[in-house]
């Protein structure tokens, strides 16, 4: 996004004519938001209405789906549906922490890079390029493996591969926006760098970063599940989707064990991608297509 577009976006007011629904609320965005909202509600309220205890055996082991246990039971006789629903309590907060962490690290580095310029900028950006040269899952895997098997280390591992994208994005924004008159004026008036950045630059730079973060949410959910599937993440008996699919792969013919977590991941990722796409179409005019 160029500076002009950014300012245009920032100063744009919604039209007075009475649109039936906001421009960004297209069908996919609506579906995506509903799905995400569903999982958010599940994550918050599940302890109140869970069909069964996610950690305790409730029926025969590896029992096929029945009315009482719509997704059957796993190898320890635990209710797969309850475990799937409880999985949202791991996946959503962990993914949010990852995105938040990556945003903070990425924005700080990006801002430093954009404002400092010179060799600081060059070094930081080469580092960013290098990090982006690795396939994300392999680098995240390396970091997580060194830190040890734990869901908290997965967070760190994924932040380590996710921040460079934001850093590069914010740096570009800062470079474009710092030349705008109001920023130069703020600097001329003696505003400190951090104040200028937070008050005058960031508000204009934020929308593409929000779009990127939304679009990344689904990918992060997938990465968390993948690392857990490999065995680097949540430890049993935590109901975590990736770990549950590992169990499903071990008990291959009991298809219901992996069905729940698979569909859960699929819907969350799909929902996040729909919302991200919709936001991008509205906030980033370049990508609007026929």
């Amino acid at each position: 996004m160029t500076a002009e577009q950014a300012t245009a976006l920032a100063t744009e007011r919604p039209p007075r004519a009475r649109p039936r629904r906001p421009r960004w609320l297209t069908a996919p965005v609506l579906i995506g938001l509903s799905v995400l909202l569903f999982w958010l509600l599940v994550a918050i309220t599940i302890p109140v209405w869970a069909p069964a205890d996610p950690l305790e055996p409730v029926a025969d082991r590896l029992a096929a789906p029945t009315l009482g246990h719509p997704l059957g039971t796993d190898n320890l006789g635990r209710d797969v549906l309850s475990r799937t629903l409880y999985g949202a309590r791991t996946a959503l907060p962990v993914a949010t922490m990852v995105i938040a962490g990556a945003l903070v690290v990425g924005c700080v580095i990006g801002a430093i890079s954009g404002f400092a310029g010179g060799w600081v900028d060059a070094v930081l950006m080469r580092f960013v390029d290098m990090t982006l040269a690795f396939p994300a899952i392999l680098l995240a895997m390396t970091v997580t493996a060194y830190l040890g098997r734990d869901i908290r280390n997965i967070v760190i591992g994924i932040i380590a591969v996710a921040w460079p994208g934001y850093a590069r994005l914010l740096r570009g924004q800062v470079l474009a926006i710092r030349r705008l008159d109001h920023v130069e004026a703020a600097i001329a008036l003696g505003g400190s760098r951090s104040r200028v950045l937070l008050r005058h630059v960031l508000p204009l730079a934020i929308s593409p970063i929000i779009v990127a973060a939304t679009m990344d949410f689904g990918g992060v959910i997938l990465l968390i599940a993948s690392l857990s599937f490999i065995g680097l993440g949540a430890k049993p008996p935590t109901p975590e989707w990736g770990v549950m699919i590992t169990d499903g792969a071990r008990f291959f013919y009991q298809w219901w064990i992996a069905a729940g977590p698979g569909i859960a991941i699929f819907t969350v990722v799909l929902g996040a991608n729909f919302v991200g796409d919709g936001l991008r179409d509205v906030l980033d005019p370049r990508t609007r297509q026929g």
């Binding site: 493996a145 065995g231 699929f266 026929g290």
Partner: protein, 337 residues
């Protein structure tokens, strides 16, 4: 052109050094002590054993010393010794590379043919049902965890319907073809052994499709967008006006131009393919680098994990270079300088 390629190749060692530095930095920024994964737990209290192990693995040296030695060894192609297999990591990787190459190349073929086909159909039938179906198919592939699609596909097409063979590169009773390239399909063909070729080919289909499906979204999306743009150009109107058949207009005039930007994205999907291969191989018991990586991660085999990361990073750097060069060949408007 030659000068451009020469300059890009000249920077390669620097890039590889950067990759090595990053993995080394990760290994040393982390408080974990690798000694605990090479020495048995009850021996950890025995200072003699620990000291001997440290000396053996070079962990008793200072960090700069370790770094110099690490980079120097890498330059000589020595990636260290795996904690788990106790063999040189390089040998482990080279042995498993052909299986991974065969899988990723098949997946790449699936991803590009399906991706271009879907993108084209979507652009031509824009905003009508083929467009929506194509998008749904692409989006579904990228939103499902690849290891889960693998399970589902195996369950349906192998266990239930029996249309495709199960995990592995060949039927259990079949012998691999004589080793030339290590790609079973290619080796079998070179020896005129059609039954082994067919065997290997059928084994490739499910994992290749699964991995290809996971990455084709990027390609189909871009083909659609650039096709839509190209179809609005004057020269397309001219081609139609002079009475060319619609198929000719689409394939010879539109697709050719629309494919140019797609090249970049194909290069970009190499990352997704390499990452996805790790998980796909695990599900399909594919004896490649991916499965090796998972085992390395599970047993905290640091030299192996680190080497795979560098190896994959190097592959990506090379594929980026190849993409850029190919781009220049295909698009005469680009002057590399």
């Amino acid at each position: 052109m030659a000068a451009y390629i020469a300059r890009r190749v000249a920077v390669l060692p620097l890039l590889l050094l950067g990759l090595a530095t990053i993995t080394f930095a990760i290994a040393h920024a982390v408080p974990a002590d690798p000694i605990s994964s090479v020495v048995a737990e009850r021996q950890l209290n025995n200072p003699e054993v620990v000291a001997a192990a440290r000396a053996h693995w070079g962990l008793d040296q200072s960090v700069p010393e370790q770094y110099t030695r690490y980079v120097w060894n890498l330059v000589q192609g020595d990636m260290g010794t795996s904690f788990r297999t106790k063999r040189p990591v390089r040998d482990d990787l080279l042995e498993r590379l052909p299986a991974t190459l065969e899988l990723t190349i098949s997946a790449m073929i699936v991803a590009t043919t399906l991706g271009i086909g879907l993108g084209m159909v979507a652009a031509v039938k824009r905003n009508r049902w083929p467009d929506h179906v194509a998008r749904l198919f692409a989006v579904t592939g990228s939103a499902m965890p690849v290891f889960w699609i693998g399970l589902v596909v195996l369950l349906i097409f192998w266990a239930e319907l029996g249309w495709f063979p199960g995990p592995g590169r060949l039927d259990t009773r079949a012998l691999p073809p004589p080793h030339l390239t290590g790609l079973f399909t290619v080796d079998a063909l070179l020896h005129g052994d059609l039954s082994t070729f067919w065997n290997a080919f059928r084994h490739l289909m499910l994992p290749g499709f699964v991995l290809g499906w996971a990455v084709l979204g990027l390609i189909s999306r871009l083909v659609r967008a650039s096709m839509v743009e190209v179809l609005g150009q004057d020269y397309i109107r001219t081609a139609r006006a002079k009475g060319l058949h619609e198929r000719q207009v689409l394939l010879r005039h539109a697709l050719k131009n629309a494919l140019i930007p797609t090249l970049t994205v194909v290069g970009l999907s190499v990352a997704g393919l390499l990452g996805g291969a790790v998980l796909t191989e695990q599900i399909f018991s594919w004896p490649g680098i991916g499965g090796y990586t998972v085992q390395a991660a599970q047993s905290l085999d640091y030299p192996a994990i680190q080497s795979v990361a560098i190896f994959a990073g190097a592959l990506m750097v090379l594929s980026n270079l190849a993409t850029d060069v190919a781009y220049a060949f295909v698009d005469p408007r680009i002057r590399l300088s």
